[in-house]
Amino acid sequence: MLSVNNLTKRFGGLLAVSSVDLEVKEKEIVSLIGPNGAGKTTLFAMVAGFLKADEGEINFEKASVVGLKPHQICQLGMVRTFQITQPFAGLTTLQNIMVGAYSNTAQTDSAKKKAEEVAEVVGMTSLLSQGADGLTVAGRKRLELARALATDPKLLLLDEVMAGLNPAEIDDIVTVIKGIRDRGVTIFLIEHVMKAVMNLSDRTYVLNDGKLIASGTPSSVAENPQVIEAYLGHGAAEAMAEGA
């Protein structure tokens, strides 16, 4: 569904993303993990059209999306959420979600209906008339998810929708994401919460210093010495092996 080849992005002398290849297949939940500053969000921004790649190809459903604007990519069926939530603060939850729903309909009534349906899916029905600026962190994360979902995407790019949530809230949102996948939406997500990554993903890619260092099932990746070193520092893998 989504395939990325040799994707590279430089910020001045810094190689933020370096020749990354990855693939997301239909109906999969694929996660992208890595330490802070590894280039995950940069990669997402390029895929969604917010940043121009310096090199490489991005194909969505076998057609290149390089050079397209974010709204065009959204219309094709690939939509992103933001790590730092970007609600339409002056609007209510319902109005926020309706903006997403309007991408498929010009009718106010059907946009409203769609928004209410989506709110049900993400569990925001009771918050519909509340102003987005009054939502809690968990509420805002859900709102990001809801707005994106209202555009009827084929592929959802979720950028840390669980950051800042407590364990109970994380369990809730994991259920929601699984539900979305069961409705036929493919999901590609960036996440730090390992419990959720293990629980959700079919496959995982690990990014460190802009390079892919591992990929595979979540459990195989978690045991990969290179991954352990990336997270815990040089020598950590050995120390852990000894300790075990």
């Binding site: 974010p70 709204h71 970007q86 603060a89 309007y102 946009a111 555009t151 809230e169």
Partner: protein, 332 residues
């Protein structure tokens, strides 16, 4: 909010009817003229409101559409004898095309916030200098239009004629914004105002929407230009492209309430009334302007969301406090 508004519809129609029959009760030419001016400013404020209040793109050069529209219909009239009743449509077209040009150039290059505001100011100034230096605008001497009352000239013997002309323009502007409030396009503009990146991510062609918004503003300003030149029968560059009018249209909207249907009308009414009262009661020349300025500072300082915003907030507060008693808010 919308259903709330609809339930007020009969009340609004009554208000509209009141304004329609008002001239039958007011015989004073002075009051008719003041009301005409209020509607005219409210109309221009509404044009500013669409781009500034709804789409969040503040312009300091809104007068450029007014001036261009005024020149289009006036030059067509003086040079070709083209009747203003048709000329006003070309003025509308001219304003829209100018909007397209300015919008494309500034939004395409990603100008936002104060940069966009300044570039519109620069465009208005540029057009003023241009109008001064080319011949077909009459240059600094200006254009004199002949007084020949009649519908085809959009000139009226009685000031009541212009009262209705301005009232119709204002009604149309309110209808446009009323449509915005309940349409997809309006929702997209508001989304752009609230967060442009998120709007773009959710499939909104932000560039196109912003250009449409400035074209609507331009079209409306164009019609205002024809109104003005047919009422006052004289046009020169300082009038056509006066900074004062650019400021006035944003002022009435900010004072009344940006992004609201009736903000510009309320603002225009309050500001003109304050202005007239200050002028009436204070004899010392210039002092009335100071009083006017002080009142302005107080309104903007204490009511950052405008008069309508302050009213809405009060309503919301009483609503939510009654809600809190019934059910506690969901806290995770």
């Amino acid at each position: 909010m919308m259903s709330n508004f609809r339930s007020h519809l009969s009340f609004l129609l009554l208000g509209a009817l009141g304004l329609i029959i008002l001239p039958y009760f007011i015989t004073s030419r002075f009051y008719i003229d003041v009301l005409t001016l209020i509607f005219f400013t409210a109309y221009l404020g509404q044009s500013w409101n669409i781009l500034g209040g709804y789409a969040g793109q503040f312009s300091f050069g809104g007068v450029m559409f007014f001036g261009t529209g005024a020149y289009v219909s006036s030059i067509l009239l003086t040079t070709f004898g083209f009747p203003p009743i048709f000329g006003i449509f070309l003025a509308i077209l001219g304003g829209a095309i100018l909007g397209l040009i300015v919008g494309y150039m500034s939004f395409r290059s990603g100008l936002r916030g104060s940069y966009f505001a300044l570039i519109t100011l620069a465009f208005a100034e540029l057009l003023r200098v241009l109008a001064n230096s080319v011949e077909f605008t009459g240059g600094g001497v200006g254009l004199f239009l002949t007084y020949a009352p009649g519908l085809s000239n959009l000139q009226f013997e009685s000031p009541v004629g212009f009262y209705y002309f301005a009232l119709i323009l204002m009604f149309i502007s309110i209808a446009i914004v009323y449509w915005l409030e309940s349409s997809r396009f309006g929702a997209q503009l508001v989304a752009i105002r609230e967060n442009e990146d998120a709007a773009e991510a959710l499939g909104i062609d932000t560039l196109r929407c912003k250009i449409y918004a400035i074209m609507i503003m331009g079209a409306m300003g164009g019609a205002a230009g024809t109104f003005y030149s047919q009422k006052y029968l004289y046009l020169d560059p300082p009038i056509a492209y006066s900074i004062h009018l650019s400021v006035e249209m944003l002022l009435v909207t900010i004072v009344g309430g940006m992004g609201t249907i009736f903000g510009p009308l309320v603002g225009a009414f309050v500001l003109h009334t304050v202005n007239e009262i200050a002028r009436h009661f204070i004899d010392t020349p210039g002092l009335s302007l100071i009083v006017y300025g002080l009142i302005l500072i107080i309104i903007i300082g204490y009511l950052p969301n405008g008069l309508i915003g302050a009213f809405k907030k009060k309503e919301k507060k009483s609503e939510s406090s009654s809600l809190d008693k019934n059910q506690s808010r969901e806290e995770p």
